[in-house]
Amino acid sequence: MLAGRALKNIFRRPHYGDDIALQMDAIGVGSLPVVVMIGTFSGVVMALQMSRALSQYGQVGKTGMLVSLTLVRELGPVLTAIMVAGRNSTGMASELGSMKVTEQIDAMRALGTDPIQKLVTPRVIATCVMLPLLTIIADFVGMVGGYLIAKFVLSIESRQYWSSVWRALEWNDVTQGLLKPLVFALIVSLRGCFYGRRTTGGTQGVGKSTTQAMVLATVFIFVLDVLITKVFVSQVGN
């Protein structure tokens, strides 16, 4: 229901542009360093692991392909979403929760603003814009991480690595890789805001809703990841 009201507000005035920009900054720019780190290292790890498995079949040259597929389809979206859930779902839950327990949400309603319009919608919009962008960045730095391993550890030629990276990707992978972060963004922002708004019972309640937001956002990310993947895989089968 919160989702419905938050989404309906996207098309309704007044818009709080400043708040959207502020949230984009917090979610996007704030998460950038950690997303870059995670992306790079997951690329590195994937390249190392895959090359070992591939060397059994004498196909080390295909490392780039595997790295790019796993990153774009799974690791990029899921890891980025989890990082953002950890940073921002919890942030939203505790921020909105504190506002709830100190009556600031009531005050907001009393002073003529719809808290969903003012607080939830900007966060949802900002997350929906930033999470796909962060995922693209994570995918890319992951590929670079894989490349470093390919070049310096596996001594694969640069051109061979990058061409196998690009050739591996089909439209299906790219849409999948961009649809997932969009869905995850909705989960991350709505879970955070939902638990924030439902907070009762003082500072202890804030702590509780923060934890719940994080845990449930993460669980939902994995469940929906499976569902989306299933849909895309069966499409390819047809």
Binding site: M99, E103, Q104, D106, A107, R109, A110, L111, G112, D114
Partner: protein
């Protein structure tokens, strides 16, 4: 009588409110008229805050009807309520200033955001400054709520509640948790605001002395202090005391009646008077 024909500013019709499965208010009925002051006394958890929140449409009643300025708000939707709320100034218990905004932005918030007020942008700052002068907080525009003391926060919150000059003002425990001197200053401020704006005032408190001040004193603008109201009888008739006990309205009358009451629950409040 004239009072019968006027529309009450606030009218509760056997209102029952439940929160978390428990009844916070049970079968409350009363009417408050223009220019009247109502002092709502009651122990902690007796439903005083819920009463104000219901009057504002923040908490929907389970049954019964709430009329504000003659309009039934109990069935209104959030969007429609904004209109009504712009005519009510509310001071929340813990001030509830937005801690991400500074004092100036906090006080300007209702002017900028109330859809039905539409204050021209050029007038916002002068009005904010004027209201902050009124509560004697002129020099704090750029400060954040966390940088202010409890009494100053309370005053900033009062400024935010009255900046739109609402005809109905509600104060939730304005003196709670303050030292006696600050509490007195706050009460003086509320009486000043009442006398200047002639607004209907709902004051929730645990202290009878706050109600006593409200009922019997007026603000002397020359001395900048409170003085006993010369028109004592007239003032008294405009102040009504209400006592809530476990969600029920157990008393509603003027000061003489509350002071001569024999109910041990009510005596408890009256006797703590200084």
């Amino acid at each position: 009588m004239a009072a019968e024909t006027r529309t009450p500013v606030l009218r509760f019709e056997s209102v029952t409110v439940a929160s978390d499965g428990e009844l916070a208010l049970q079968d409350i009925s009363f009417e408050a008229y223009e220019g009247e002051s109502r002092i709502i006394l009651g122990a902690a958890g007796s439903g005083k805050t819920v009463l104000l929140k219901t009057a504002m449409g923040l908490t929907p009643p389970e049954s019964g009807k709430v009329f504000v300025f003659g309009q039934d708000i109990s069935t209104m939707r959030e969007k429609q309520l904004f209109d009504i709320r712009s005519k009510i100034g509310m001071l929340f218990q813990e001030s509830a200033l937005f801690d991400s905004l500074n004092i100036q932005e906090n006080v300007a918030y209702p002017l900028v955001n109330q859809p039905s007020i539409k204050c021209p942008p050029g007038e916002v700052l002068p009005r904010v400054k004027q209201t902050l002068e009124f509560v004697e907080l002129g020099g704090t525009l750029a400060k954040f709520p966390s940088e202010l003391s409890g009494g100053m926060r309370r005053r900033a919150a009062i400024a935010r509640a009255v900046v739109t000059e609402p005809p109905l003002q509600m104060y939730d425990s304005p003196t709670a948790g303050l030292d006696p001197i600050t509490a007195h200053t706050i009460m003086a401020l509320l009486i000043k605001e009442r006398d200047v704006s002639q607004a209907t005032t709902m004051l929730v408190t645990q202290r009878f002395q706050d109600g006593n001040l409200m009922a019997n004193f007026r603000y002397n603008s020359e001395q900048g202090a409170l003085e006993p109201a010369r028109t004592g009888d007239k003032q008294k008739s405009r102040t009504t005391f209400m006592v809530l006990k476990e969600g029920r309205l157990v008393f509603e009358d003027d000061q003489d009646a509350i002071e001569s009451s024999n109910d041990p629950y009510i005596i408890k409040f009256v006797k703590q008077r200084v």
